[in-house]
């Protein structure tokens, strides 16, 4: 029930999703006496919970030259890691089974690429390269190394 009375005191917690954020907004709008800091923190927390996992993926992918989303138990992920290490590249690896929100990302990646299992997924220079077959194909046809150099992951 949306609060309309100006004296309404919202008793939301951080785990209320949509209602919480709306309540925060409305509350902020209606009452200036409430601490800005708390509200903003609450909003930020709510926003994080709400954020599209793919957006998070994109954000993480852009933070490093070579980003691999992996599962620690996945052997194909191990193979792709070894491939990059063998080329002298130092990839940033996110083990989704060790991330509290890894499951979401895994599901999102599965929707994105349609692979099962979803991992490994490789980003170079923030751009999606794909799964093991795409990585290998681009390595064999000679496009991987220029891509790595462009992203600054490989010198020489």
């Amino acid at each position: 029930m949306p609060p309309t009375h100006p004296h309404y005191k919202p008793t939301f917690s951080h785990h209320h999703s949509l209602h919480a954020s709306r309540a925060v907004q409305m509350y902020y709008h209606h009452s200036e006496s409430w601490g800005y800091y708390t509200a903003a923190a609450a909003a930020a927390a709510a926003a994080r919970v709400m954020a599209d996992p793919l957006e998070r993926v994109a954000r993480l992918a852009s933070e490093n030259a070579v980003v691999i989303f992996s599962l620690s138990s996945c052997c194909m992920c191990h193979a792709v890691k070894r491939l990059f290490c063998g080329m002298g590249v130092n990839p940033t690896v996110y083990e989704l089974d060790q991330d509290p929100r890894g499951k979401e990302i895994e599901r999102a990646l599965m929707r994105l690429l349609g692979n099962s299992p979803a991992v490994p997924v490789v980003f170079i220079g923030g751009k999606l390269v794909g799964s093991m077959d795409s990585v290998m194909a681009s390595h064999i046809n000679g496009t991987l190394v220029p891509l790595l150099k462009e992203a600054g992951a490989l010198w020489l």
Binding site: R82, L83, M132, M136, I140
Partner: protein, 462 residues
């Protein structure tokens, strides 16, 4: 060896004394049996039952006038062909030739046939080949002076025998002589034609034999695989079918591949234009795509069969990597046979060599990780015997292990992709002519490896 006694009966021996005479070993040497020698060489690699061999041998007996009576003699000549094979055919050969002989009606004609058969093989036979023949046969009394002339200079024994017999008979007319000469020539020509046909048939059967042997070996391995495999449950029987289906598809693919390669080879040798060559090269490349498609289907139905390499010959299997050839090795096989290469091409080839090697290493390490993880799963302490009450744990661990096994198919798929892409990249870098040569070199290497397997399987064992 016992069957030697059974085959030629006494009555046969009586009617065909010239066959009986072959027991004289001292005058024999290997050159007397040129057909047999060829037989030995061509059949040396085929120790399996030679289906076509018996009919060929029969034919040889008809045309070559060989009496295969002495078992000892045979054994000396021929260690690879089981003597029993030859014996059974020799017996029937004798009978058949006898039928051939007697169907002509007259002894005279029969003699002419005999003599002319000998004549037809005149150049092949040793000195007293025909001499022994004519010496002790009743029907050879008609071998007269003119026949003697034909054997002149070679058949000394015959001369003596014929002379004495001839004089006792009295003079024969020139007309009769001329007729006989003509008949002899005719029969000689026919026997030469027969020999030619026989040799062709022999070569065909040699080819068939190689194929049969390969199929037999494959089927045997497949039979062993199924027999010693897991307890027959539904999934396994399906797997067995998938494996057999792939084996058959692969055999067909291989035949077609050989045909395409032969076409390519003749095109390269006859220096056809680039356009025509490109079509042939593209055809071979498309055919390679076909095998990868077949392998992918085979992996879906039976990944272990694909990984085992039981569909390959032993030597290929020994040096195989992850269900197929090593893509990095492909370029080593080519070596410097692609020269001259432009600088850009050279760099492309070197990069391809390096990247395929790196990809192979990565996949190999992934496979090792898989095996390691399976070891850990299966050797986990929680996998106690069912009786200890850890059934849930056991099933849980087994489920995990099953999941890990499922990734095998992915690894095989990646390995095949790697092989396919290496071939395609090589095709892209090279010119049409270079690509044609490369495909021929690669195909020759593979077929030599397969031939090596056959030779090894057929090697004489102590």
């Amino acid at each position: 060896m016992q069957s030697f006694k059974a085959a030629p009966t006494a009555s046969d021996m009586y009617y065909h004394p010239h066959y009986f005479l072959r027991g004289d070993e001292s005058s024999r040497n290997q050159t007397r049996f040129p057909d047999l020698g060829e037989l030995e060489q061509s059949a040396a690699f085929h120790h399996d039952d030679a289906v076509d061999l018996s009919s060929s041998a029969m034919f040889r007996l008809k045309s070559g006038n060989v009496g295969v009576v002495s078992p000892l003699h045979f054994g000396g000549l021929n260690t690879n062909i089981g003597p029993s094979d030859m014996v059974s055919t020799s017996g029937t050969g004798v009978v058949d030739t006898g039928q051939l002989m007697f169907s002509k009606g007259t002894a005279e004609t029969a003699t002419a046939t005999v003599a002319s058969l000998g004549n037809g093989h005149f150049e092949n036979w040793g000195e007293s080949g025909m001499g022994d023949n004519s010496q002790q046969t009743d029907t050879s009394t008609d071998v007269d002076t003119d026949d003697k002339n034909q054997y002149h200079g070679v058949q000394h024994g015959a001369l003596v025998a014929v002379d004495s017999m001839d004089q006792s008979k009295g003079k024969t007319g020139d007309q009769k002589t001329l007729r006989r000469l003509a008949q002899n020539r005719e029969a000689a020509r026919k026997s030469r034609l027969r020999k030619k046909a026989y040799v062709q048939q022999l070569e065909c059967s040699q080819l068939k034999l190689t194929q049969l042997e390969q199929e037999l070996q494959r089927a045997r391995q497949q039979g062993v695989f199924i027999a010693t495999g897991f307890s027959g449950d539904q999934s396994h029987s399906m797997g067995g079918n998938g494996a057999l289906a792939f084996d058959m598809d692969y055999a067909r693919w291989l035949d077609e591949h050989q045909r395409l390669i032969n076409d390519l080879r003749s095109a390269v040798n006859s220096h056809v234009g680039d356009n025509e060559l490109r079509i042939l090269v593209d055809g071979v490349m498309a055919h390679y795509d076909e095998i990868f498609r077949l392998k992918s289907m085979g992996a879906k139905s039976d990944v272990f069969h694909m990984l085992s390499g039981m569909w390959k010959t032993p030597a290929e299997r020994c040096f195989m990597w992850l269900g197929g050839f090593r893509s990095s090795e492909l370029l080593k096989i080519l070596g410097n046979q692609l020269e001259p290469l432009t600088d850009q091409q050279l760099m492309g080839i070197c990069n391809l060599q390096q990247s395929s090697q790196q990809a192979e290493d990565a996949l190999s390490q992934g496979m090792e990780a898989l095996q390691q993880s399976l070891v850990e799963t299966l050797s986990s302490n929680s996998l106690g015997p069912a009786g200890s009450g850890n059934v849930a744990d056991y099933m849980g661990q087994m489920a995990i292990a099953m999941g890990k096994l499922a990734t095998l198919e992915n690894f095989l798929h990646q390995a095949d992709l790697l092989r396919q892409q290496t071939l395609q990249q090589m095709h892209r870098i090279l010119t049409t002519r270079q690509a044609a040569r490369a495909l021929l070199v690669i195909s020759d290497y593979m077929s030599r490896l397969r031939a090596l397997s056959s030779l090894w399987l057929a090697r004489p064992r102590d």
